[in-house]
C-alpha cells in the first residue's frame, strides 16, 4: 500500500471516529456542530503529554479523551435547556472558542497559532487508528442491542414521554455529550500522533460542519449511518480527481441532491434487519 493510500485510510479511520462522536449526542436528539473543538482538546492535551511529559501514547490518548469528555459533560448541562438551532449555535460557538483558545493561549507549550510541530518522530501505525475504530464499533454494537440503547432511541423519538416512563433523560443527554466528546478527543489525539503536526486552524467550523454532515447524510438513526457517511465523503473526492477545482461545486450539488432524494440519510434502521434484503416473495406474510 502506497503512503498516499495509507494516509487516505488513516483519514478515513479518523473521520469515522469523528462521525461516531457526533452520532452520540445526535442519538439523543442533540445536534452538535462543535466537535472539532473536542477533537482539538484531545489533540493538544495528548500531544502535550507525549512531548512535554513523555507519557506513552495509550495513556496520553485516554487522558486527552477524558479531558475532552469532562469539558463535554460541563457543556452538556447548560446545553440541556437549549433546543434545536440554539443548541447547534452554542456548539458552534463552543468550537470556535476552543480554537481561539489554542490560538491565543498556551503558546509556549503548543506553539499557538504557529502550530505544534514535532509530535513524536515517527507517525503511529495505522492500526492504532483502526484499532480504536473497531473498539468503537463494538461498543456501539452492544449499545444498540441493550436497554440503554433502547432508552436512547426513546429519548430521541419523544423526550417528554421518555421522561414520563422513567427514563432519566438528563443523565442520557449529558452522558451522550460526554461520550461523544471522548471519542472526538481520542480521534484528535490519533490525528496529532499520525500527522505529527497540528494547528488551531485545522479544527475550524467547517470541519465540525462536515463531521455533522457525515452523520446527517449517512443516516442519523443507526451507528452504521455515520460510518457510511464518513466513508463516502472521505473516499469520494478521490474518485472525483478529474473534476479538479470543481470538486467543491460537485460536492455541494451532491449534498443538495441527496437531501432531495433521500432526506433521512442513506442508512435506515430497516436496513439493519436481515429481512430487508430478502426479496419480497420469500418473506413470510405477517
Amino acid at each position: 500500500m502506497s503512503s498516499y493510500q495509507l494516509d487516505l485510510f488513516s483519514s478515513l479511520g479518523i473521520n469515522i471516529l469523528l462521525a461516531l462522536s457526533v452520532y452520540c449526542p445526535m442519538a439523543t436528539g442533540q445536534l452538535s456542530i462543535g466537535n472539532a473543538g473536542f477533537m482539538a482538546i484531545g489533540a493538544y492535551v495528548s500531544a502535550m503529554l507525549t512531548v512535554h511529559v513523555h507519557l506513552p501514547l495509550f495513556p496520553s490518548l485516554i487522558i486527552g479523551g477524558i479531558a475532552a469528555a469532562i469539558i463535554g459533560v460541563l457543556f452538556g448541562f447548560p446545553a440541556l435547556r437549549l433546543k434545536g438551532i440554539f443548541l447547534a449555535m452554542a456548539t458552534l460557538c463552543f468550537g470556535e472558542i476552543v480554537r481561539n483558545f489554542f490560538m491565543n493561549f498556551l503558546q509556549p507549550l503548543t506553539g499557538g497559532a504557529y502550530g505544534f510541530r514535532g509530535i513524536g518522530d515517527v507517525p503511529i501505525s495505522i492500526s492504532w487508528i483502526w484499532g480504536w475504530v473497531a473498539l468503537s464499533l463494538v461498543f456501539f454494537f452492544f449499545l444498540s442491542r441493550s436497554r440503554l440503547g433502547l432508552a436512547l432511541m426513546a429519548t430521541h423519538d419523544d423526550e417528554t414521554v421518555s421522561e414520563l416512563i422513567g427514563i432519566n433523560i438528563v443523565f442520557l443527554k449529558v452522558a451522550a455529550f460526554g461520550v461523544g466528546a471522548f471519542i472526538a478527543g481520542v480521534a484528535g489525539g490519533l490525528y496529532a500522533h499520525y500527522y505529527l503536526y497540528i494547528e488551531p486552524e485545522f479544527f475550524n467550523v467547517w470541519e465540525s460542519i462536515f463531521i455533522a454532515l457525515y452523520v446527517i447524510m449517512g443516516g442519523m438513526l443507526t451507528y452504521w449511518g455515520p460510518v457510511l457517511g464518513a466513508s463516502i465523503f472521505t473516499l469520494l473526492p478521490e474518485f472525483l480527481r478529474f473534476l479538479q477545482d470543481w470538486r467543491g461545486a460537485f460536492f455541494g450539488v451532491v449534498i443538495i441532491g441527496l437531501m432531495i432524494a433521500r432526506p433521512s440519510g442513506l442508512v435506515t434502521r430497516e436496513m439493519l434487519r436481515i429481512d430487508f434484503w430478502i426479496p419480497y416473495r420469500k418473506r413470510r406474510k405477517p
Binding site: 441493550s146 433502547l150 432508552a151 430521541h156 423519538d157 417528554t160 414520563l164 416512563i165 432519566n168 434502521r269
Partner: protein, 263 residues
C-alpha cells in the same frame, strides 16, 4: 362528600394518592382550583367533566409535567410535588395520553421493554444484549403485558403501523409493563368504535385484576358508568361532585354541567 366505596374493606391508613388544595395557574388562567382528592388502592376511579375542566392538567400535575402553583400531591407518604417526572414514574405512576404518543422507531415488543426499562437493576445489565435471558423475570412480565392486551402476535411489528385501536393498546401495554401502582388513562376510548370500546372495558378490568389502581379520564359514559367504582366530576378546575356512579347519575349539578350527555 368524601364517601369511599366499601369503606369497611378499604381500611388502609394512607390512601394511595392524595391531592391537597392543589392549584395550577397559567398566568391569569386558573386551570385547577383548590382541588382535594383521595385515591384508594385497588379501585377504578373515573375523572369526568366538560372539555377544559382541567382533567388532563391534573394528570400533568400528578406526573410532574407541570409544577403545582400551590398545594401538594402525595403518593402514599411521599411528596411528589418537588420531584422530576422520571422519578415520579419510577415510584410507580404510569400514564397514557390524549393523543396517542408512541415511539415511531420501535416495535410493539420494544415499547413494552422500554416501559419497564428502569426496573432493570444492574448497571451492567443495561448494556448487555436484551435478547439474552438476562433478567428473565422482566421478560416474563413484558410478555404478560402483551398477552393481556392481545398484542403478542404483533409484537415484532412497528407500533405506529398498527391500526388505531391496537396503537392505543400498545400505549397501555407500555404503561403497565413496569407493573405500576397507579395507572392514569387519558381518554382511552377516544376514536374507538363500539367493539373496540368493549374490548377496552375488558382490558381495563384485567388490569384491575392485577391489582393496579386506575384513574380514567373519559367522555364516553358507557365506559365510566360501566367500569368505575367511584367518580369525580370536575368543572372549571373545581371538583363539583364525587360519588358512586349511581349517585353521580342523579346529581343535579353534574347534569347541569353536562347538559345533554347520556347518564
Amino acid at each position: 362528600m368524601d364517601t369511599l366505596p366499601k369503606e369497611e374493606e378499604a381500611l388502609k391508613d394512607t390512601p394511595l394518592l392524595t391531592l391537597k388544595g392543589t392549584n395550577k395557574k397559567f398566568g391569569g388562567l386558573v386551570a385547577v382550583d383548590n382541588l382535594s382528592l383521595k385515591i384508594s388502592e385497588g379501585y377504578i376511579y373515573g375523572l369526568i367533566g366538560p372539555n377544559g375542566a382541567g382533567k388532563t392538567t391534573i394528570f400533568n400535575l400528578i406526573t410532574g409535567v407541570y409544577p403545582c402553583t400551590s398545594g401538594s400531591i402525595l403518593l402514599e407518604d411521599a411528596d411528589l410535588t418537588p420531584l422530576k417526572p422520571y422519578r415520579i414514574a419510577r415510584l410507580g405512576i404510569s400514564r397514557t395520553f390524549q393523543t396517542i404518543r408512541l415511539f415511531p422507531s420501535m416495535s410493539t415488543w420494544e415499547h413494552v421493554l422500554i416501559g419497564q426499562n428502569f426496573l432493570s437493576r444492574s448497571r451492567i445489565g443495561e448494556i448487555l444484549p436484551v435478547r439474552r435471558t438476562q433478567g428473565s423475570t422482566l421478560r416474563a412480565q413484558a410478555e404478560e403485558a402483551l398477552r393481556i392486551l392481545g398484542l403478542w402476535e404483533v409484537r415484532d411489528r412497528k407500533a405506529v403501523t398498527l391500526p388505531y385501536g391496537s396503537q392505543r393498546k400498545v400505549e397501555i401495554a407500555r404503561a403497565i409493563a413496569a407493573q405500576p401502582k397507579l395507572l392514569l388513562l387519558d381518554e382511552p376510548s377516544a376514536g374507538m368504535n363500539i367493539r373496540e370500546t368493549k374490548e377496552l372495558l375488558s382490558v381495563i378490568s384485567k388490569i384491575h385484576d392485577l391489582g393496579i389502581t386506575i384513574l380514567v379520564i373519559e367522555h364516553d359514559m358507557r365506559v365510566v358508568m360501566g367500569i368505575c367504582d367511584h367518580i369525580v366530576v370536575l368543572n372549571f378546575g373545581r371538583k363539583i361532585a364525587e360519588g358512586t356512579p349511581m349517585e353521580i347519575r342523579q346529581n343535579e349539578e353534574v347534569l347541569e354541567a353536562y347538559l345533554g350527555k347520556e347518564g
